[in-house]
């Protein structure tokens, strides 16, 4: 088991190098001069530009730039961005915000998705099942930005139940509305996945055998249906954690959440190579770790999967 975890962690190294190289190259290949773009319509003197270029190593060829980035990275010096702020500080500011948002969304989609899916699956074809199925389809069909603005207007502005935007003062409570928006689509998928899995397992031979043993229905469902049904759902949830961390750009923009998505978007617009790569690197780590966690959970849920030797 420990060997498996170690091996998986070692795999992070090539994945990390590969992704950073790719992202760095893409930022490098963006058309336009980032320094000139920084100043907009009033270009500074050539001397200033030359100095700035040198400061950010923009004169160097691609490999040298990437090499310097790596060197800085391994000496735990992420450098400063174009506004002069240390990138490490930026990461320390934005990641906790997005992590809070992602965890809240994950809990919403996990807890409610599994619970609703279980009930719908057990009452297949009934009123609850049909209603939930139609509603989940509606949620999946509506794009996040529409849903986001609609809920912002309805709950935030008209009903006044929550603050329409988050702003700089981030709390669990203020993130609730964006988390709902963020988690809603995945919630619909988790629900449908759980429902399908429960229906399949309800027909499994071992469930019938469990009933034949004299177990009450509640016991049959909790011990024999639920755990087996969670296996595909956990895989989906783990994969969606990565997506929640990185893919919240739209939601963060709508609700003005000062998180990763917003920062990443700004950095891409400004062609700030080091900032983009730093953020993406952390996201890569999150993805890899989330997948490792899924694999471990998987083995815990399904004893047929064992990773030792």
């Amino acid at each position: 088991m420990i060997q498996f975890v170690l091996r998986r962690l070692l795999q992070v190294i090539p994945v990390f190098l590969g992704t950073t190289l790719l992202v760095y190259f893409m930022v490098f290949a963006l058309p336009g001069d980032p320094i000139r773009a920084l100043f907009g319509d009033r270009p500074p003197s050539e001397a200033v530009i030359a100095q700035l270029r040198q400061q950010y190593n923009l004169d160097e060829p691609f490999w040298v730039q990437y090499g310097l980035f790596l060197k800085n990275l391994f000496t735990f010096n992420l450098g400063v961005d174009f506004t002069g702020q240390p990138i490490a500080d930026t990461l320390a500011r934005v990641f906790p915000v997005t992590a809070m948002l992602a965890i809240e969304a994950l809990i919403i989609q996990g807890v409610f998705g599994i619970a609703f899916g279980l009930v719908a699956g057990l009452r297949k074809g009934g009123f609850f099942d049909s209603t939930v199925l139609v509603l989940s389809l509606v949620v999946i069909a509506i794009p996040t930005f529409v849903l986001g603005f609609a809920l912002q207007l309805l709950i935030g502005v008209q009903l006044g139940w929550a603050k329409p935007t988050v702003g700089s003062n981030v709390t669990w409570g203020s993130l609730l509305l964006p988390a709902v928006v963020l988690g809603l689509v995945s919630f619909a998928y988790v629900l449908r996945l759980t429902r399908a899995s429960v229906i399949e397992n309800m027909n499994a031979d071992y469930v019938r055998t469990a009933t034949a043993k004299g177990l009450a229905r509640r016991q049959v469902v909790m011990t024999h249906v639920l755990r087996n049904s969670l296996i595909p759902v956990i895989t989906y949830l783990g994969a969606s954690l990565g997506a929640l961390m990185g893919g919240a750009i739209v939601t963060e923009a709508i609700f003005n959440v000062p998180g990763v998505g917003q920062k990443l978007y700004q950095a891409i617009l400004r062609s700030e190579g080091p900032t983009v790569v730093a953020i993406v690197s952390v996201l890569v780590l999150v993805f890899v770790l989330a997948n490792l966690l899924v694999d471990l959970l998987y083995a815990w849920l399904d004893p047929r999967i064992r990773y030792e030797n």
Binding site: R208, T209, K213, T223, P303
Partner: protein, 572 residues
């Protein structure tokens, strides 16, 4: 829950009252096109301590009847009429609460497939424990181990901590028997308890089950498709056909003197009972209408002396991963040599894991031998180039076990049978269609079948399609890998007769891979017995069956259900 809730009056036993009595039972299923009657007017009586078997083919309603008795009909099924009297109490419409009390405590169940009836994510011990707990019995680790040990599971304490996938099929079935009998029920419903197991294991399990139920005085309702097995194990046999009980009576009496035409056919076709028929007919040169379809007169048979297949010192070693890039060798086939004469049937028999299917795959050139030679018609098949292999495939064709999995569901039957002709670029469109029609005739399927899809056909019909496809290229050798194991007894007999008839008409050579010795008896001229990758005995079918040399072969033969039953010659 305490056991006192479920005590059933002792009076019933003294008064000779049946433990279970099914009267006029009707069961119907709700389907898209209305209600379908699955069981009609079923009658059944089981006295305390008695074993009663329900025999019938798939779809006959035997399992449905048994499931109704324990209140486990699928969601769309319901008892439409009649009574299920458990010691006088009608449980046909009992509340779910009452059924939960009865299940486990009074009525136990041993299900059919040991692979799918244990929850893969819980330890065996946990699955026994929850049974004991739910029925208010002591459920400590020692109690669990005791229950498992009684079912014949060695080293039960340690075994209880293992997961189902760490158990063999036989051991899983023992665990399921342990669960079924853990609360000493008065009635045990055993639904095909051993049909998924090898014959020798089957025998051990049934012996053990019999011993346990005798000791506990448990009545058993045994569901099986195997008449031989039913007759051997049960006091009474009930024959079901299309939802009706067509005949019932003491086992031997029913076998020796079947009244209903269906029972008569069943007795005649049961491989375990009537196994000599095709052989005898062949030896005597006579064929009877119902057993062997008429052979083509004076079929041109090539001389039987030519060895069309020569297998020489065949070996196959698989590398098994043992972690850290290390691997251990697993010898699946070990130094196997035998010859197959043209126009004859050679059977390879053995239990699962004996390497028989690996041999078949190597003969089909689907798997490369580690060493040894396969000589087909004088040519070493390992030396063939791509083009020659293509030509070789034309002459050697397979028929596989699973008629559901081996036909492409998206191809209609015409396309399925025509495909090999098209691949081998034989004839034009019109001549290919003519050939497909001929082939369908040969396997006794109506030509209208051409436009249908596999899911519209029964298992037997599908296997006929698979045979037609194999015959499309006029092959010389057909490798049948468990080609009839998935079929019901009567259908199996029909397909075996078809194969025998095609052999005599077309001079085909069969290599028949099977675990079922009764089938071997019916179809094979020569037998190769494999055990753990080695060929332990070969010889003519008669020699091997009459005077087996090796203990392993004897054990296999003894394990055929019904083998020990003595039947009058006109039946056997």
């Amino acid at each position: 829950m305490t056991t006192s809730d479920v005590t059933i009056e002792e009076a019933g036993i003294q008064a000779g009252r049946p433990l279970l009595e099914i009267r006029d039972l009707a069961i119907s299923f709700k389907t898209g096109s209305g209600e379908v009657q699955a069981v009609r007017n079923a009658h059944l009586t089981i006295m305390p301590g008695e074993t009663v078997a329900i025999v019938g083919e798939s779809g006959s309603g035997k399992s449905t009847t048994a499931l109704a008795a324990i209140g486990l009909l699928p969601g769309n099924g319901r008892v439409a009429g009649g009574q299920i009297l458990l010691d006088g109490e009608d449980i046909a419409h009992a509340s779910e609460k009452r059924m939960i009390e009865l299940r486990g405590n009074i009525i136990g169940m041993v299900p059919q497939d040991p692979m799918s009836n244990l929850n893969p994510v819980w330890k065996i011990g946990d699955q026994v424990k929850e049974t004991l707990k739910a029925n208010g019995r002591p459920s400590g680790p020692d109690d669990v181990a005791k229950v498992l040990a009684q079912a014949g599971l060695p080293d039960a304490g340690r075994r209880a901590k293992q997961y189902p996938h760490e158990f063999s099929g036989g051991m899983r079935q023992r665990a399921l028997i342990a669960i079924g009998l853990s609360c000493q029920p008065r009635l045990l419903i055993a639904d095909e308890p051993t049909s998924a197991l090898d014959v020798t294991v089957q025998r051990q399990i049934l012996d053990h089950l019999e011993k346990m139920t005798d000791e506990l005085g448990t009545s058993v309702l045994l569901i099986t498709h195997d008449l031989g097995l039913a007759a051997e194990r049960a006091d009474k046999v009930v024959v079901m056909y299309r939802g009706n009980v067509v005949e019932a009576g003491p086992s031997l009496e029913l076998l020796q003197n079947p009244q209903h035409p269906y029972t008569q056919r069943l007795v005649a076709s049961a491989p375990s009972l009537a196994s000599r028929r095709i052989q005898v007919a062949k030896e005597l040169g006579v064929s009877t209408e119902e057993v062997l379809a008429p052979r083509g007169s004076a079929a041109v048979k090539p001389a039987l002396t030519e060895d069309v297949l020569q297998i020489q010192n065949l070996r196959k070693v698989f590398k098994m991963r043992a972690g850290f890039g290390k691997s251990t060798d697993f010898t699946a086939v070990d130094d196997v040599s035998f010859n197959v004469k043209r126009g004859t049937t050679t059977a390879i028999v053995g239990e699962s894991g004996s390497g028989k299917s690996t041999v078949a795959q190597m003969v089909l050139n689907l798997l490369e031998p580690t060493s040894g030679k396969i000589i087909f018609d004088g040519v070493d098949t390992s030396a063939l180039n791509t083009k020659e292999i293509f030509a070789f495939r034309r002459r050697v064709q397979p028929i596989f076990q699973d008629p559901y999995g081996s036909l492409d569901p998206m191809y209609n039957i015409y396309r399925t049978i025509e495909e090999p002709l098209r691949v081998h670029k034989i004839g034009d469109k019109a001549s290919r269609e003519k050939k497909v029609r001929e082939l369908l005739d040969q396997v006794s399927l109506p030509q209208s079948t051409m436009q249908r899809y596999p899911n519209e056909l029964s298992g037997g019909q599908r296997q006929r399609v698979a045979i037609a496809r194999a015959l499309a290229l006029d092959p010389e050798v057909i490798i049948c890998d468990e080609a009839v194991s998935a079929l019901d007894v009567l259908v199996q007999a029909q397909v075996l007769n078809l194969l025998a008839e095609l052999q005599s008409r077309l001079g085909l050579t069969y290599l028949f891979i099977t675990h079922d010795l009764a089938v071997v008896r019916q179809i094979a001229d020569h037998v190769c017995v494999m055990e753990k990758g080695k060929l332990v005995e070969t010889g003519s079918t008669d020699d091997v069956f009459e005077a087996p040399q090796r203990d392993y072969t004897k054990a296999l033969l003894n394990a055929i259900p019904g083998a020990r039953l003595m039947l009058p010659p006109e039946v056997a």
